[in-house]
């Protein structure tokens, strides 16, 4: 750390203060769907992805992303390989879906006016930093959700300049929709979780609520609307459970 601060910013952290900021390094969320309820719409992906849900929890703030990558990367890769070995040589694509995706991607180039994707990105960062940070309350979260939804409307009018080759503004215009959707999901989950747990600190609900400790939040998208429901936390398998010492009574989190 000493070397890094000296090298990058000419700050001697043994003599003066250093600036500390927050950064999202990984998102503790999984992707859940039930393949029996609908035909798989994503050839090659595997229902094993559901296992990601509920694996990490509020009290482990750092270092999880690497083990996630290794464990779930391997599982997803193995699942995809098994699928590919059995799959027909050519997967039939829905040409209407392909055309719609192409249209959506190219439309921002055709607009003669509209906001710059980077400007919307900065507004999203400011909104999430000020209203959906670690310390939250109901009022801020509701304002945050409204602000993100306004930005989503703005993002649909975004204008892109330049060519299609290596154009980061174009990529951002595409990524914005996902960023905005995830931001709204984060804010909505935070709003309904009326307790404080790990890095989720509700100033209006400062205590742990054991009932919330038994559930995951599940976000479902229906058109433009996001809905939050709860699903019971998966039970840890016995072979794993046996590796953990029982927690002393009254331990935090």
């Amino acid at each position: 750390m000493y070397h890094q601060f000296m090298e990058f910013a000419n700050i001697d952290i043994t003599k003066g203060p250093m600036e500390v900021g927050l950064r999202v390094i990984t998102s503790w969320a999984g992707y859940a769907w039930t393949p029996t309820r609908a035909p798989p719409r994503f050839p090659g992906s595997s229902p094993r992805a559901k296992l990601r849900e509920g694996c990490t929890a509020a009290n482990r703030l750092g270092g999880n992303s690497l083990s996630d990558l290794l464990v779930f990367g391997r599982r997803a890769g193995a699942g995809a390989a098994a699928y590919a070995a059995k799959a027909p040589a050519h997967v039939a694509l829905d040409s209407a879906q392909v055309a719609a995706a192409e249209r959506a991607l190219l439309t921002p180039f055709e607009r003669s006016s509209g906001p710059d994707p980077y400007a919307i990105h900065r507004k999203l960062q400011d909104t999430m930093q000020s209203l959906v940070g670690i310390f939250r309350n109901e009022d801020d979260l509701e304002r945050g959700i409204e602000a993100v939804r306004r930005l989503m409307a703005e993002a649909k009018t975004v204008r892109v300049e330049g060519s299609r080759a290596f154009n980061p503004g174009w990529h951002l215009a595409h990524d914005l929709e996902n960023m905005l959707r995830i931001s709204e999901a984060v804010a909505r989950c935070a709003l309904q979780r009326k307790e404080s747990r790990g890095a989720h600190a509700r100033l209006d609900y400062p205590n742990l609520d054991p009932e919330f400790g038994k559930v995951n939040s599940v976000v479902t998208q229906d058109g433009e609307e996001l809905r939050v429901s709860q699903s019971p936390l998966p039970r840890m398998p016995d072979e794993l459970r046996s590796l953990f010492e029982p927690e002393p009574a009254g331990a935090k989190t």
């Binding site: 090298e7 990058f8 503004g169």
Partner: protein, 89 residues
């Protein structure tokens, strides 16, 4: 506010040229910060490869004033006021 003046090589397979940009100069700024400022405020189609911002991964290798550098650790104060920045060869 003091400005940094950069000459950034822009082009494609058919060729290219240096283009001048001015960005606000901030204390401790590195060349990658200046490039990102241009991207975010003046030229959203300006491509730059980068990843770790900690001089470990090498993605942001480029020529700064004719010398191979990592954009993320080349501090502005150590460079000349007007700076050429080209992709690494």
């Amino acid at each position: 506010m003091p400005e940094a003046i950069l000459h950034v090589y822009r082009g494609d397979a058919s060729g290219g040229k240096l283009q001048e940009y001015r960005v606000p100069l901030e204390e401790g700024m590195v060349v990658l910060d200046a490039i990102h400022h241009i991207q975010g405020h003046q030229a959203p189609d300006l491509a730059v490869r980068w990843n770790c911002k900690a001089a470990k991964c090498g993605s942001c290798s480029a020529e700064v004033n004719g010398k191979p550098k990592l954009l993320c650790k080349t501090r502005w104060t150590r460079s000349r006021q007007a700076s050429d920045r080209r992709p690494a060869r």
